[in-house]
Symmetry: C2
Subunit: 126 residues, 2 copies
């Protein structure tokens, strides 16, 4: 599977909103995104259309409005996107990225705890 063209940055944002709020019309997506950054209604519309063309979303008419839903799970998109990044930027080596995330991006104490558990679990399981 997976012959979707990669998401562009703008498309990612819109996809994220779709995951967050579930199936929604352009207006709703636009409103949600507007809370975080300024973006034109029509721009959001374009991103949604492109998301659909690329296979990441589907839509149906609902009266006058068009309702978009995500067709791909966050997990999948994350995998595809991050794998590609790791490949390109680190030649496939995961650790530099993990190090950066833990060291340089303020994680909360609880996050660190969670990670420790996660690591334990990984070490035995499998």
């Amino acid at each position: 599977m997976g012959e979707r063209p990669a998401l562009s940055k703008g498309e990612m944002e819109v996809a994220r909103v779709l995951w967050e709020i579930g199936p929604a019309g352009v207006r709703q997506v636009h409103e949600t995104l507007s809370e975080q950054r300024e973006i034109d209604f029509a721009t959001v519309q374009t991103y949604l259309r492109r998301l659909e063309r690329k296979g990441y979303a589907s839509s149906r008419r609902d009266g006058r409005a068009r309702i978009y839903s995500a067709r791909t799970k966050p997990r999948t998109v994350i995998r595809e996107t991050v794998d590609e990044l790791v490949e390109r930027l680190f030649g496939g080596d995961t650790m530099p990225l993990v190090r950066h995330l833990i060291e340089d991006r303020g994680l909360q104490a609880e996050d660190l705890d969670e990670l420790r558990e996660l690591i334990d679990r990984m070490e035995q399981g499998e």
Copy 2:
């Protein structure tokens, strides 16, 4: 600082090679990259030129050849790139990405050990 335009995927690969092998001519970069994927000599050349235009590399003539050097540390580029990705794809939340990396991308036992130490260190030393 940091008003560099973001790197594209192809540019990233070339930047990585530059970090890896240090200052080098087009040929050398092309050879190194060719070990991993097929790519045209002239394409690499273009990427190097663009890297320079964007401020990520500099070059000097050395006789007939042109030698490119990275001008930005990996660390910096990683930060900029990953921060942007986290912003767009996770709305700024770091953990989903860390989770994905640890759970879904086969880390070696030693990597896990290293992480554990890293986490310990983070938790005490501010």
